[in-house]
């Protein structure tokens, strides 16, 4: 019975019914070599569901109304730094000019994690996020595509994209929007690939993570785009919040069958 209901729910999701949490799409698992990897470091991803859009201001307002301990006046300092929800004028209202349907930013990892848990979901791992994000409109792995990489690098240089509404970038091969072009996104294990901050050292030393393709092939655009994401993640701590950093949730495929 539950299974049936859930199936219906998913069906509804596919036709863009917003009633039943935020929309998710299925990402078919596979094996790929991430930036830091070599052939021996292939990563296998199981099938999972991913939010179509990043979590919006509006959705997060609803969340803190139900979970007051995540409101900016009540949040524990251990779980969010001083810039948490910086662009909100009160616990539940946004500053004028901030779009309701723009991604919520100035969110700590703890807050993002709590939000996803509350929805029965979780934050994606770096490997899952990078796997879903290597797709462009037409192919699941567009990392060697020049225009795709130029698009990403172009965004890195574009200021103030955090207030653009969700869905304003392209829909990728899996049906996911805004992985590139709006905001950075939290991952569950954001600091597991260590960039020491001294990136040249990461390249030179014996670190398995960076002596492979990451270092030698660093001249190609694909790696440059990814390097910047890994560098950004490496600069974070779980209580940090940033104006250009939001999040989205994912769910294991198995969970749907429970």
């Amino acid at each position: 019975m539950t299974v049936l209901r859930l199936t219906f729910c998913i069906l509804f999701l596919w036709v863009a019914n917003a009633n039943c949490q935020s929309k998710m799409v299925a990402i078919q698992g596979g094996t790929y070599i991430p930036l830091y990897g070599r052939d021996s470091l292939k990563v296998t991803i199981s099938d999972f569901y991913m939010d179509v859009y990043p979590v919006t201001n509006q959705e997060f307002v609803a969340f803190v109304k139900q979970n007051p301990n995540w409101q900016k006046s009540k949040v524990k300092k251990l779980f969010a730094d001083g810039s948490y929800l910086m662009n909100w004028t009160s616990d539940t209202t946004l500053k004028e000019g901030l779009e309701l349907t723009a991604p919520v930013t100035n969110i700590s990892w703890f807050a993002a994690n709590a939000y996803c848990e509350c929805q029965g979901k979780r934050l994606p791992t770096i490997d899952e996020w990078e796997y879903a994000a290597m797709a462009n409109e037409n192919e699941p792995d567009a990392r060697k595509n020049e225009t795709y990489n130029e698009y990403i690098l172009g965004w890195y240089e574009k200021p103030k994209t955090f207030n653009n509404v969700i869905g304003s970038t392209f829909k990728n091969y899996w049906g996911v929007y805004d992985l590139h072009g709006l905001v950075w996104e939290w991952t569950s294990d954001f600091n597991s690939v260590l960039m020491s901050g001294e990136s040249r050292k990461d390249v030179d030393n014996d670190s398995n993570l960076f002596c492979g393709s990451g270092a030698v092939g660093a001249t190609d655009l694909m790696n440059y785009a990814a390097f910047m994401r890994y560098a950004t993640r490496g600069s974070l701590k779980a209580k940090y919040t940033m104006k250009n950093l939001g999040f989205r949730c994912v769910k294991n495929k198995d969970d749907e069958q429970l």
């Binding site: 730094d81 200021p159 103030k160 001294e198 440059y224 390097f227 600069s235 940090y240 940033m242 104006k243």
Partner: protein, 486 residues
């Protein structure tokens, strides 16, 4: 960018302080320390930071202190050249970043703040730091956060600092570099004028001069194929109204750095000889130098006394970079001429290597008619083009487009087309001072051209009949008239 000076009160306080210190020093024997690391610090002070081309006040004979440096990182759009903008990543809002001035033995407390609007994490590697990564490891900071670290300045000299976050080349190529000076005890010798200049190469999606916001081009950067090579972050940062200045008789000291990321600079000041160069920013002093090599990620201190007035052009003597990619600045010197040092043109004559002594100088109007009057337009165009290539091309460029902020365009030039006699006069007698061409102001120098009346007529005819100008056919007699009018 510059912090306002706090007026006389501060000066008085400093003077009193200085006297106090002086008496202290007089009463005690001066201590020698085995190593700069042993120099103790007294008190705390906040470092004055300046945007280029300015430098902070010298350390003088102040003691080593705990020096507080607060540096903010800003990612912001700025002007590369007229009509072209670029997203610069900056230390302190300028390219190059703020100048930091310290003395040996200072203990620097460095706070690096990454503005919340920024997209990327950054850090800083100061070549003046003795320690892993030059501070990079300790300063890696996310947007909206700050990091603090301390270091002691042990080695004197002029050092580059830069961002070292992956991808390092891109951070540097976007303007994340600057200079930090570590003065010896007692400071560098006093000079009259000090300036801060730093070269950098830029790689844009479009070609040099393409309008609009130009994105960084990674492939060109990897290929080391620069679209812009500039001093102080943009074309024209040191020309026209932005030129640096000095008076005759003054000694000028330039702190010159090279941020790269790729190109090495052959730094040269046209019409000056460096009396002193602190080679590579270190302690070795070379004298009487024409051009000094500044490596990427390196610096040099050059000093020279200016003896005669005029405009002196600063260039990277890899000369196409200067005239075609922007590596050109100006030093304007005012004061009395000194004809012994530089006379200007004393005499003009005709040089004929085939035995000019035997030949008779042309005189009278007959020759005029024969040489110029009978020339067809096509002949004048051909001769004019050759003269242009030899004489005018270097400044006004192949298609008369000129160089923004330095040399006015001759193509579709309102100034040129308005008055042919004025144009003839400028070729004959040169031109100095401000003019407006096609809405842009130029304040530069054109020397008088030592070419014959025929050649003036031909080259002007060529210019007037090219690049959308009004097709005036300039004759030798017109040139003669202007000549005789003077």
């Amino acid at each position: 960018m510059r912090k306002p000076k706090n007026g006389l009160a501060v000066l008085y306080l400093m003077a009193i302080g200085a006297i106090g210190l002086q008496s202290c020093i007089d009463n005690t024997t001066k201590k020698e320390y085995a190593s700069a690391a042993d120099i103790p610090v007294s008190r705390e002070m906040t470092a004055e930071l300046t945007a280029p081309p300015n430098v902070p006040r010298g350390v003088g004979d102040r003691k080593a202190k705990k020096l507080i440096v607060n540096m903010e990182i800003l990612e912001q759009e700025g002007t590369m050249t007229d009509g072209t903008t670029y997203n610069y990543w900056t230390f302190g809002g300028s390219v190059p970043g703020s100048f930091i001035r310290t003395r040996v033995g200072d203990e620097v407390e460095f706070t690096l703040s990454n503005h919340p609007d920024n997209k990327l994490p950054h850090n800083i590697d100061l070549h003046a730091v003795t320690g892993p990564g030059g501070g990079a490891t300790s300063s890696f900071v996310a947007p909206g956060h700050e990091k603090k670290f301390n270091f002691k300045t042990i080695n004197e000299g002029l050092y580059v600092y830069h961002c070292a976050t992956a991808p390092v080349g891109m951070h540097v190529a976007n303007g994340m570099y600057g200079l930090i000076l570590v003065e010896p005890e007692g400071g560098l010798p006093r000079v009259d004028k000090e300036y801060y200049i730093m070269q950098g190469d830029f790689y844009t999606q479009g070609e040099n001069g393409d309008p609009g916001l130009q994105a960084f081009d990674m492939q060109k950067a990897v290929d080391e194929d620069a679209d812009y090579v500039v001093f102080n972050g943009s074309v024209g940062a040191l020309t026209g109204d932005n030129a640096i200045t000095a008076n005759v008789g003054e000694t000028v000291r330039l702190y010159v750095g090279n941020g790269g990321p790729n190109l090495v600079s052959s730094f040269h000041v046209i019409g000056e000889i460096f009396d002193k160069v602190m080679v590579e920013g270190g302690s070795s002093i070379n004298e009487n130098v024409q051009t000094t090599l500044i490596p990427a990620g390196g610096a040099a201190i050059v000093e020279f006394r200016v003896d005669v007035p005029g405009t002196f052009i600063l260039v990277d003597h890899s000369i196409f970079r200067a005239f075609n990619k922007g590596a050109l600045g100006m030093l304007k010197v005012q004061g009395e001429e000194n004809k012994t040092i530089y006379s200007g043109v004393v005499q003009e004559g005709i040089y004929n290597p085939e035995g000019g002594g035997i030949q008779v100088m042309p005189n009278g109007d007959e020759d005029t008619d024969i040489s110029s009057g009978t020339k067809t337009l096509a002949e004048k165009m051909e001769s004019g083009k050759q003269i242009y290539t030899k004489t005018c091309f270097a400044c006004h460029q192949a298609n008369g487009e000129g160089i923004p902020n330095a040399f006015p365009p001759l193509a579709e030039s309102d100034y040129l087309n308005a008055d042919v006699n004025r144009a003839i006069d400028i070729v004959l007698n040169g031109k100095t001072g401000e003019i407006t061409v096609n809405g842009q102001k130029y304040n530069s120098v054109m020397t008088k051209q030592a070419i014959s009346s025929d050649e003036v007529a031909d080259v002007l005819t060529y210019i007037y009949n090219s690049w959308g100008n009004n097709k005036t056919n300039v004759t030798r007699s017109q040139v003669e008239q202007v000549k005789n009018g003077h």
